[in-house]
Subunit: 330 residues, 4 copies
């Protein structure tokens, strides 16, 4: 049985809390959050005890920490947890600053603790099945990858101002997926960002609409398109072209109902947003983490994956300004 | 918190056990099964205590029983549980004999206990959404219903010989769905049964392949087709034609992956069988039952629904022999 | 080059006229229709000459006649054309009366002329591909066939009163398809007809909504459902279940456009009615006929197919009244 | 009646010839091609007379020319035809050289003749319907366009060496579609070309695999992806994201048959290549041209469209080398 301390009682923290509670081999022992109301809500739903960080990390019965708190606290918590020998599941990003990210990686390496980064989409049943079929060489050599990733809701101006920006908060998942699917590391990245949705994106020097092209050394290419306005629901699709065929993974819908009416045939919109669409992914990434902790093996998606996706974000920010391919150096 | 005793530790019992355990307002206290191994397996997974029927029913803290044991024990257990004032969730059918079914209904009525029959398909998200859209009059007056219901696996000869036959075990779900969707009770039923799959169906006087037509008094019609051989997975579809349109609810697949290859474009087969396809239905029917127990209201699908579906089975058996519309008298 | 005389300048006659004109090996020489306006319209569009029946049949350069005139004239025209040794393409039905149909068949046989009946759906690209895949044994032994056939428009009261009724006018195509797909002749037929759409169907003793079950001697089954009210367009689907899989052929749409909006995802309705949906079938059946005339071989769908489908109509009419399986005797 | 002279008896010339022949208001009078066999084949099929260029253009009864000859002859023929006052339908590109293209435009303007360029995809029923729905503001302001355009067959080394290269021969259609759909002219273009399919593309300094991003002044974006290897058939899809929704137009298939087998559910591959997929487009663009000639109005897609698409090709070639956004100056 793996005993968890959860840091962060927000939306994602709640998702993780529910998955820990449902897991037959895991227990949620502690919840840490500076906001008493949020912490209390999770405590009530799960029976977890509200404690502070030191108490939680000092408890030798705690095997694992799940870091879903504010981004700026990730690195400190991860370093502290590593020092206590805890297995660490950390929401992305490790840190918005690359230097701080590297310090965190060093601490993890030195402490030799298990670390998993929360790139949950790798665990989406459809995306995972697609990846497995690529690995079985079903469509031959990979040539082009096309990732559609569009949010049904923008961030509020306040959240946007306080966060890492769209590339580091949203596109980072797509960059990880690009790395995961291309079969080679990208060496160049081109970004084109626009402001078409909400003026405060422009005011904050950010983009609400973007397109990307990534290239590997052998010439494989990946296109990503992003928007913070998909009025028809969360749009998360992947398409991989290989020398012997193409694989697509599409959206899922709440039901299979189709209505044949006098004007058109209609079906459900895609599932609304990440909590709905990636419900299975969140559960599966936790399963993977628990399994790794129990069997002392490295998770499939670790600290280096977190770092490399962040490096792609940096290249994207540079390219959106320079209007040219920017080199990617991991 | 609703405390349950589960009767029956077989496949369906296990599904219910897992849903009770996961339910925030339910607890699985007891498991009753004459097979020690099966009972022990559920007990280990859930922490439930293995007891005998009398102990379970005598415990005043038990609010609800879930009857998923062998069909022939359903009526006895339901009558005994009713006598003790327990809320009853009973797998279909109540009994293969209509007289015995009526005795059971009388006992439930007399004891004034809450009773839900396990027609889980009513709780399938797609079928339920379709029904809700019918109820909102989205396609006008209902004219024809078409139910496709085909199993990926036949019953073994032994199970078939010991059970109620294909109409009472398999088609009964479709008959319930027909009643649910037609908006009027059927008054006539025509059945055509064949043996095309496995010789022992014929040997036992049963059918492995069947088609049905049901009619209501106003002339609404429902077609059902059944087979015990769907090599492509569990095939569960509904189509309702109304005066202003048509609604379909189709199969679901494990993933959304599509493969574009040199020969064809292919996608996943439908989910394999009822445990996979109706996983959400089993959970949702339990949610409904728990909610009904807590709020003391009658479940949407009760003892009368169990009885009426069985009466349609009887008419179907008669029609398959007579080759004519048989009257349905509820 | 095959020189045609076309009888009948109505809707179907116009479709055939256009296909003859476009055919590189056919010429439309004559048009015969008692309605001068209709005849003139076809003549203007195609350059065909308006003549009377005797003139047309007396011309030795006419190789083939296409009979698309009123149903009651089919048999007379076919018998007259056979006497003159013309190849005959005749719209279904040959005649509404079975005795008259048999006289026509006898005349054709005696004259030893080539005869094709207008069951155009056999030439629909999707239905034909499905049939070819059945013939290649792709899904093993056929077990059940399900035919959906629903019209977007009812007949007017006048047309209905003057015609052969819904079974002989509409279902006859489905009966032919059932024979074509079952791989064995039906021996029993059950029909259930209702009046839910337009009161004059009931007044005329006809049905606007119907379901059928056909059985072959070995127990194969076919379900057909019909309605004269499909507000979402012409609904023409086929589904064949075999021992090793299932084949479906669905509707076609004008375009492939899908709209993802705030409420739903919508796509085109099916093509409107037979002229649109079966445009390719009408052309392909004419191709087949011309090819048969040129190479002196028997068409794939001949007079006997016309007769047998009519016999199924008779059984259906009897069954809708008797409420029982009626025997089919070809 | 519009009398045509067709220049070029190759594959595309044959397609146009057939459409002219089938058109009720057009006649194919002359065919001009330096290859006697090719000319003879078209002449036999259509009844057109084989003549030389001067004879054809000198004939005052010829209203229109259709230029489907080798690319390098397009401008000369167009200029000569303009001088004779003929209406001109010209396959793309007008010329591979921009200076020569401008000379041709000047000649057309001076002669004031009607000119249509062969961007047939604008007439594809699905793409046209999508465009019409954009024009009706169905999805609000356009934000991103995604064009998938992948060929099932590469050019031979010889054809590639003798032609204008992949961007000018293949992508030019996509550039036209981008202009057509963005609602604003592109002002910047980024191209990333790779050689992953056939070594002779690299040897000739060309690309067999490419991705593009186009931007308009207001920040609208368009992604195009190209490949000369789509083993699953011709892949031609469009997706347009707007402020109020998304429209997709997808591939078409030969039939609607779906096969449900033990391993997967499969359906037809997309139609094979442009002759099949764009059969309706070729017919519709000819209809449009004939209609414009008859009514003396300018075609929807004219010489300027041909020129501007070529300018995008130039920018793409520059960008693929420079690795940066290249400006687009029409």
């Amino acid at each position: 049985m793996i005993d968890f301390c959860l840091f962060g009682a927000g939306l994602i923290g709640s998702v993780h809390a529910a998955n820990i509670v449902r897991h037959p081999k895991a227990r949620l022992r502690y919840i840490v959050d500076p906001r008493p109301d949020a912490a209390q809500r999770i405590a009530s739903l799960t029976g977890a005890q509200i404690v502070d960080t030191n108490t939680a990390l000092a408890d030798p019965e705690i095997n694992a920490v799940l870091i879903a708190s504010a981004t700026k606290t990730h690195a400190d918590l991860a370093i502290a947890a590593a020092a206590k020998g805890k297995a660490i599941f950390c929401e992305k990003p490790i840190d918005l600053d690359l230097g701080r990210t590297d310090q965190c990686l060093a601490a993890i390496t030195q402490a030799d603790v298990l670390f998993q980064i929360g790139f949950n989409r790798r665990f989406d049943p459809s995306f995972r099945a697609l990846k497995q079929r690529l690995d079985k060489n079903e469509i031959g050599a990979i040539e082009q990858v096309i990732i559609t990733s569009r949010d049904p809701e923008a961030e509020t101006e306040e959240a946007l101002a306080g966060g890492g920006g769209v590339f580091r908060e949203m596109t980072i998942h797509d960059f990880d997926m690009a790395r995961n699917l291309l079969g080679e590391e990208p060496v160049e990245l081109f970004a084109s960002g626009s402001c078409l949705v909400l003026p405060y994106y422009a005011k904050l020097g950010d983009y609400d609409t973007a397109m990307f092209i990534l290239r590997t050394a052998s010439g494989r290419q990946c296109h990503i398109n992003n928007s913070v306005r998909a009025v028809y629901g969360y749009d998360q699709r992947i398409e991989v072209h290989g020398s012997n065929g193409m694989l697509q993974a599409g959206n899922r819908t709440p039901t299979s109902v189709e209505a044949f009416g006098p004007q058109a045939v209609s079906r459900d919109r895609p599932l609304y947003f990440f909590v709905e669409r990636y419900a299975e992914s969140y559960a599966a990434e936790l399963d993977h983490f628990v399994e790794c902790v129990i069997s002392s093996r490295n998770p499939d998606v670790g600290a280096k994956d977190g770092r490399n996706a962040m490096i792609l974000c940096e290249a994207a920010l540079a390219s959106a300004k320079s209007g040219r391919f920017e080199p990617v150096r991991f």
